[in-house]
Amino acid sequence: MRETTAHEDLIRGIWKENPVLVQLLGLCPALAVTNTVPNAIAMGLATFFVLTGSSLLVSLLKNWIPSEVRISAYILIIATFVTIADLVLAAVVPLIHKELGAFIALIVVNCMILGRQEAFASKRPVGRALLDAVGTGTGFMIAMLMMGTFREVLGSGSVMGYSLFGENFEPWIVMILPPGGFLTLGFILLAFGWWKERHSEAIRVRQWPHGVASGEEVA
């Protein structure tokens, strides 16, 4: 594996290798619970917490985890943090917790989180693993916020529940339904790809499949 600087580890996940927008990982929550901004934030925070916590623990325990059972060990660690996040959300924001439903438990199988453990935290020192988790978690949060804002503005005419267009707004029902998630993700990916293409042909050719081509990620 190529040696990276600490700065790279932190920055990489935010934009250049954004888990959702570039690597297309963690799509299940990104599609399912981004119908409003509060839901997107709650899910983003929960995932951020789980990712940071498990990266820390996996990196600490990496020398004691036998490689034959490492995946189950990672899942166990992740599940521990998901349980914490689940209980905390239920206690602090019961309404949002109810809306997110099964998707909080499903953070366990979010391949973005498992991917960071397998590809990074299990091979790097604790500090780097934490930086990487923070960067990736932030990138996930940004993607969730983008989708949540887009869908809430069109689907309900509001942001964080504050109405933007007045009472007479005609909601685009499709945007708060599951197809709206796919449409929004597709639209953002389109805009993302277009922006990249327009900015630099060279970047498009070399960096577009970066995360995948370097063989780092778990599919």
Binding site: F165, N168, F169, E170, W172, I173, V174
Partner: protein, 355 residues
């Protein structure tokens, strides 16, 4: 044959002088030219839509023209802004806009029609790579999006007001705002009446078009004539509408024979809703329909079956749009299984010959 062509030297090499005498004319294929270019076909289709639009305006007043104009503006503008250079000239975006306008309710707010046009061309066609690359019919995709986004507005069907000039709904609702309640009386389409109240509509009214419905879908006979013109000029594959009509007629006729009091008559099925317009203009879209004759039959029969299934047992009164979109998705597979045998090849590949 002595192995030496004309103008070859004793050693078989070409000599320059005789090469100049042969005067080969070198040109890239295609060598046979047909007068039927894409723009020509497209503009013919546009021409054949004009009478349908005219009748729509006759029945539904100026608001019908507004809706069609807004949908067309949306799709053409999208093609101009995001399409490949010069692609607007082939007229396909114009057709998409016109067709989309014709399958919208007359009182539809024009900003929504505009959004439908943008979505139809942008996400239905350009995102796949432009004309010829799209999987689904762009106009139907635009309408499917509008149906999912604005389910209330797209199922509001105005009845004939006394004054022809009266708008049939809040056409000029501000963008992003809900239309206010229309001044005209609204009612159900013949299919809605059939589905939810068990009422049939006079077949003559259905054929002439004086019923509630989308702008261009009511005048069944006129659509038959206009589509027939395109079929005669070979601009649409006659097998597709014919197989749709036959399937719908036979399927719903069978149901009608079983229970005349429970199921609508086959003639009602043929001339109500968007079946005529869909079968003639949407299902026959050259890009999204099969290329082989056998495939066209399969495609048409599939659409016919789905239309009757959705109309009779589905939750929606009308199913033409979803039936065509659904079968659009199968077109690549239909094309593959109906590949004609290459002349001289064995009928079936020997077992295990191909990995």
């Amino acid at each position: 044959m002595n192995g030496r062509g004309p103008g070859r030297g004793p050693d078989g090499s070409m000599d320059i002088d005789s090469l100049a005498e042969i005067r080969l004319r070198i040109a890239a294929s295609p060598h046979l030219r047909s007068p039927h270019s894409t723009p020509r076909i497209m503009w013919n289709v546009v021409g054949s839509l004009v009478p349908i639009l005219a009748v729509g305006i006759y029945y539904f007043g100026p608001s019908a023209l507004l809706v069609v104009a807004a949908a067309t503006l949306g799709s053409v503008l999208t093609e101009v802004l995001f399409g490949p250079k010069g692609s607007t000239k082939d007229g396909s975006a114009l057709i998409t806009g016109l067709l989309l306008g014709l399958i919208l309710p007359p009182g539809f707010p024009i900003w929504m029609a505009f959004v439908g046009g943008v979505f139809g061309v942008g996400f239905g066609k350009l995102i796949f790579g432009g004309l010829g690359q799209n999987v689904f019919n762009p106009a139907l995709l635009g309408r499917a999006f509008l149906q999912a986004a604005f389910p209330a507005a797209i199922t509001t069907w105005p009845l004939q007001p006394d004054n022809w000039w009266a708008l049939r709904g809040d056409s000029f609702a501000l963008p992003l705002m809900s239309p206010s309640a229309p001044d005209v009386v609204t009612g159900a389409t013949p299919l809605g009446l059939m589905k939810f109240e068990g009422l049939t509509t006079d077949t003559m009214d259905l054929m002439m078009g004086s019923t509630a419905g989308s702008i261009g879908e009511t005048a069944g006979l006129l659509i038959l004539v206009c589509g027939g013109y395109l079929a005669l000029r070979n601009y649409l594959d006659w097998r597709i509408p014919l197989s749709i009509f036959l399937t719908v007629f036979v399927f719903s006729g069978g149901l009608y024979l079983i229970g005349p009091d429970r199921f609508p008559s086959p003639l009602f099925m043929l001339f109500s809703g968007g079946l005529m317009l869909g079968a003639m203009y949407m299902a026959t879209d050259m890009v999204t329909s099969p290329v082989t004759p056998a495939g066209s039959w399969i495609f048409g029969v599939g659409i016919g079956l789905l239309v009757v299934l959705i109309r009779v047992w589905g939750g929606l009164p009308e199913g033409v749009m979803y039936a065509i979109l659904f079968m659009n998705a199968f077109v690549p597979f239909i094309n593959r299984i109906t590949q004609p045998r290459v002349f001289g090849q064995p009928r079936r590949k020997p077992r295990g010959a191909e990995a």
